[in-house]
């Protein structure tokens, strides 16, 4: 009737607040998991990552994010000058390779959330949602890499606080003269 191993239930959506998903075995309640659903504001960023148990988790970050490009020039070609009057330059750029990073922030992150987020920093699969919010397909996610170091997993004092992560987005393709 079933297979030994993990089953995954995907709930399409919840309203903000505390929700639950209950699993039944042979029609008997086996476990109820708690779903903390956060408010969804326009521009809120959603990250998906695999935790230490091989399970994919989600975590939202607020809409105040920034993207940073780190271009690196591929090289330059020398230009032979016949006249300084109209030669414009003695070397031309071939193009750039670019790393685009996105900095995300989550506010009021509790200690319990930090415990769960601890797996994010070393997760081999981290995805950023790029869809329009109405779908959840493979094309709605891009794989990223955690780019920042010194990630907080426990606070010295206090239960709430903000965390920031920097994700290195996949290759940002650029036009080159090659």
């Amino acid at each position: 009737m079933s297979q030994i191993g993990f089953y995954r239930y995907k709930k399409n959506s919840f309203t903000a607040g505390t929700n639950s998903i209950a699993f039944y075995v042979n029609s008997v309640l086996a476990v109820t998991h708690t779903i903390i659903t956060k408010e969804n504001c326009t521009g809120t960023q959603l990250v998906k990552y695999i935790d230490k148990n091989g399970q994919y988790r989600f975590y939202p970050f607020n809409k105040y994010y920034e993207k940073i490009d780190n271009p690196e020039e591929l090289g330059r070609t020398n230009e032979f000058i016949t006249s300084i009057f109209d030669a414009q330059t003695d070397s031309k750029s071939v193009g750039y390779r670019n790393k685009r990073n996105i900095s995300l922030v989550a506010e009021s992150v509790t200690s319990d959330e930090l415990d769960i987020l601890a797996d994010l920093w070393t997760s081999p699969r981290v995805y950023l949602y790029i869809g329009d919010g109405s779908s959840d397909n493979l094309e709605d996610w891009v794989e990223c890499k955690i780019a920042n170091a010194d990630n907080l997993v426990r606070r010295r004092k206090g239960d709430f606080g903000r965390i920031a992560i920097e994700l290195e987005l996949p290759t940002n393709f650029t036009i080159t003269m090659l």
């Binding site: 009737m1 079933s2 297979q3 030994i4 191993g5 993990f6 089953y7 995954r8 239930y9 995907k10 709930k11 399409n12 959506s13 919840f14 309203t15 903000a16 998903i21 209950a22 699993f23 039944y24 075995v25 042979n26 029609s27 309640l29 086996a30 476990v31 109820t32 998991h33 708690t34 779903i35 903390i36 659903t37 956060k38 408010e39 969804n40 809120t44 959603l46 998906k48 695999i50 230490k52 148990n53 091989g54 399970q55 994919y56 988790r57 989600f58 975590y59 939202p60 319990d112 959330e113 769960i116 699969r125 995805y127 949602y129 919010g133 959840d136 397909n137 493979l138």
Partner: protein
């Protein structure tokens, strides 16, 4: 002379949990009682979930417990990982329960005397992609026991929740929905709230002209607004009643749903209008638009459909179709009741 007895001294099974992560050290110990020459190794046969021999490895000496007992260690984590499948994320439809292929794999280890004299020692366990930390057992007991967990998500966005199943005989469902494999037959007459995880999803189609509410019981209320000046009105509502994570997993099944359409409110004074309402039921995937499913002047409707094995049965589709040649009032309340749901093996 040689090994006379093999005994697994560390099987890493904790309180019945045989769920073992392979991304952190996972070592099995086996003691060999011997006489004569000290054995330098014992064999460890690795079998997969189909009981096919994958490879034979050697457990190496770990310590000498006495002059006749030597303990061997089988360093398993890296070896097992190469037999595990990928566990990348996969596409999954919403509100469905699916098995996570690749996340776990069943193995059998057979500790074997190289001379074939001592009786083999066998160990079954379920390896999983995961890691434990120092101070924790090399065993995911908490996952095995399905201790409650907290997941985070964003409103109106998807979220995953996981369940570990340790028995093939189990039937696993979510939010109380029933898979008929559990009882072979599910036959429920009800008039209370929607049972077994049913939830109502309104699917507006075509020229929906008014609002709808979901009744406190199983009543689905439609509020049809007709144009009094138009003798023919064809507005209608659709309701998809969704049964999460339900699928026919033991062969063909036959599903029968009986529902009633009852005019209420303003329609009472328009009996002819009420009687000309059509209630249309469809079972199975999506919207059955077969014209033959419409029947005139029928207040109670029963529809039976044979559904092939493995076909998701997630929707009971109800359409209240107001296609009357009568002069309609400005508005009509219509209640659709689900009377019974029956699912049986055929």
């Amino acid at each position: 002379m040689g090994i006379s007895l093999l005994s697994i001294s560390q099987d890493n099974i904790v309180d019945g949990s045989d769920l073992m992560p392979v991304h952190s050290p996972l070592r099995f110990l086996c003691q060999a009682t011997y006489s004569g020459d000290t054995p330098e190794y014992i064999y460890v046969d690795l079998y997969d979930d189909l009981d096919a021999l994958q490879e034979t490895f050697r457990a190496i000496p770990y310590r000498d417990i006495s002059t006749t007992v030597r303990e061997f260690v089988f360093i398993a984590e890296a070896l097992l990982r190469q037999y595990m499948e990928d566990f990348d994320d996969f596409a999954q439809a919403g509100n469905t329960l699916v098995y996570c292929d690749g996340l776990t794999k069943r193995f059998k280890l057979v500790f074997r005397d190289p001379d074939g004299v001592a009786i083999d020692e066998t160990l079954y366990f379920n390896a999983m992609h995961g890691a434990s930390q120092f101070g924790e057992y090399p065993n995911k007991e908490s996952l095995y026991d399905n201790n409650p967990k907290t997941y985070y998500n964003l409103a109106s966005r998807a979220v995953y929740a996981y369940y570990y199943n340790n028995d093939e005989a189990n039937v696993i469902t979510v939010d109380g929905s029933t898979i008929p494999g559990a009882t072979e037959i599910y036959d429920e007459d009800f008039s209370g709230s929607l049972p077994f995880g049913f939830s109502v999803v309104q699917t507006p189609v075509d020229n929906v002209v008014s609002k709808e509410t979901i009744g406190t019981d199983t009543v689905l209320k439609c509020f049809l607004v007709a144009d009094p000046l138009d003798g023919i009105n064809s507005s209608y509502f659709n309701f998809s009643i969704e049964l999460p994570s339900y699928a026919s997993n033991f062969g063909n099944i036959k599903s029968t749903v009986e529902a009633s359409l009852i005019s209420a409110g303003a329609a009472i004074s328009y009996q002819n209008v009420g009687s000309e309402m059509r209630l249309y039921l469809a079972l199975g995937v999506g919207n059955d638009t077969d014209v033959a499913d419409y029947e005139d002047n029928k207040r109670t409707y029963e529809k039976t459909q044979v559904i092939p094995e493995a076909t998701p049965l997630r929707y009971i589709f109800i359409s209240v179709n107001n296609h009357s040649k009568s002069l309609l009032p400005a508005s009509i309340d219509v209640n659709a009741y689900i009377n019974s749901i029956k699912i049986e093996k055929v």
